[in-house]
Amino acid sequence: MNSYISSVIFIFLLGGTVFYIGARRRLFKGLNVHELVTIAVFCSLLYIAGLPFKFGLSRIPFIHAFTYSIPFTAVLFIGIRLVPKLGTATLIIFGHSLLSQIISRGINPLWWPYALLAGFVLELYFLLCRSYLESRANVLGAGLLRGLVVYIYFYYISAPYIWHIFYAPWYIFVQTLQGVIGSGIGALIGFSLSKPIISAYRHGGL
């Protein structure tokens, strides 16, 4: 069986496990309309945060993994901190992926496992830590994990299978390292920016 199909099976098993554990621990609280709209706004914000990268920063050769992962992770983590529930991370990431496919890239289900993996890994991390980005260490750990998983999956599985493009191991290492560092920085930026936003959001200041 090829590595892509194996990875899809693994991702669905991972998702199933995450949501099974969530259901066992009674963490399924459902999302009300306000939370759903907030998640939708963060899908759009992730798209907006990526625009400077698409139109300018991507021209900087070799460091695109670093420059892209900072805004993405920062916005994502603010969203998760605002709606700290099981499924939020997956909905924001997958919603953003669907949104960009509908608006600019065209629907391609072969890329959906990539988005789902990014969400499920974070959900699993939150379940294991029993914390939704509540401390700086937890945030940093989640950021580093996101960078590691997403870039390794992209360079080892998605790109070789979907585009038939291969990368040298040293290049994958450099890009993954940048993605991990960028995600870590983005996570910390998101954490510091989210404090006043959360306080305004929770206490009706908006």
């Binding site: 999302l31 309309v33 306000h34 759903l36 709209v37 907030t38 998640i39 939708a40 706004v41 899908c43 759009s44 914000l45 798209y47 907006i48 945060a49 625009l51 400077p52 920063l57 900087i60 420059t67 900072i70 805004p71 920062a74 916005v75 603010i78 605002l82 909905l91 919603g95 669907l98 949104l99 496919q101 509908i102 608006i103 600019s104 890239r105 065209g106 629907i107 391609n108 289900p109 072969l110 299978y161 979907i162 585009w163 038939h164 493009i165 291969f166 990368y167 040298a168 040293w170 290049y171 930026i189 920016l193 006043p196 936003i197 305004a200 959001y201 908006l206």
Partner: protein, 262 residues
């Protein structure tokens, strides 16, 4: 690049047909492995692209994107080609050139890699053209409707609709905030400037969008929104959809047969 209102064949197709076509084409891009078949797929999609009657600006963007794709793919595959045999035509870093040479195993451009890059860029061209055709010929709300008919949960459909509705307002607001920050003396040059600008942009932008989100959620709640929505627009399969899907299915069968020698 966005939806263009035209009366072409692709515009008249049901969004579900276009979603299935995208899936089939995405699979074909993966399955096909000869330069001839990849070129054939590219030519079919190129013809389909022009049949949507794109404006000149879109043709320029597409040409630019394809130019970038071929340059990036040829260069990257020239460097990273690892199948044997491979003939180095230019060695940038020999294997024995210090620590970096040892870590990377030497950096060279391989002739077979450059050729492989040209062939593989056909896949990227096809993917680019396919996305342009779908985006130009399908209104986003129709695509969401099509996805819902395929069983995507109502709540995700609602979320996508809200996201699309918010997108132009957020982009406009982001521009306004950046202009205001620049007028107050913000400099955005370099990576540090970009990060600083991003930090200063994000907080007001999120606060403003959360205010909008609260208003939208309140409006939905007072109308008794439960997640289920009714649509004014109804989509239905016409004979053109069945014919298109049959042709796509036939091409898929032929591609799988030839790829796996069945």
């Amino acid at each position: 690049m966005r939806y263009i209102s035209r009366a072409t064949f692709f515009h008249h197709l049901d969004p579900r047909t276009k979603i299935l076509m995208s899936l089939a084409c995405a699979c074909l891009i993966v399955i096909l492995n000869t330069s001839f078949s990849l070129f054939g797929l590219f030519m079919i999609l190129l013809a389909a692209f022009f049949s949507v009657k794109p404006p000149l600006s879109y043709i320029k963007i597409t040409t630019y994107l394809m130019g970038m794709a071929i340059v990036a793919t040829v260069i990257s595959q020239g460097f990273f080609y690892y199948f044997e045999p491979r003939t180095p035509i230019l060695t940038i870093l020999p294997k024995d050139a210090g620590l970096i040479g040892k870590l990377t195993g030497g950096i060279s451009i391989y002739r077979e890699g450059l050729i492989y890059g040209i062939v593989q860029s056909m896949r990227l061209f096809s993917a680019t053209l396919l996305s342009m055709i779908i985006v130009m010929s399908t209104h986003p709300s129709d695509l969401i409707l099509g996805l819902k008919r395929f069983g995507v949960p109502e709540k995700i459909g609602f979320m996508l609709t809200v996201s699309i509705r918010f997108l132009p307002a957020l982009a406009e607001e982001a521009k306004r905030i950046l202009i205001a920050q620049k007028l107050r003396g913000l400099r955005l040059k370099g990576l540090r400037g970009a990060i600083k600008g991003f930090r200063l942009l994000l907080q007001p932008l999120i606060i403003d969008s959360l205010r909008k989100a609260r208003r939208t959620a309140l409006a939905a709640e007072v109308r008794g929104f439960t997640g289920k929505r009714t649509e004014i627009k109804n989509i239905r399969f016409l004979w053109t959809d069945w014919v298109t899907l049959s042709i796509v299915f036939l091409i898929m069968v032929l591609a799988i047969k030839s790829r796996f020698h069945l």
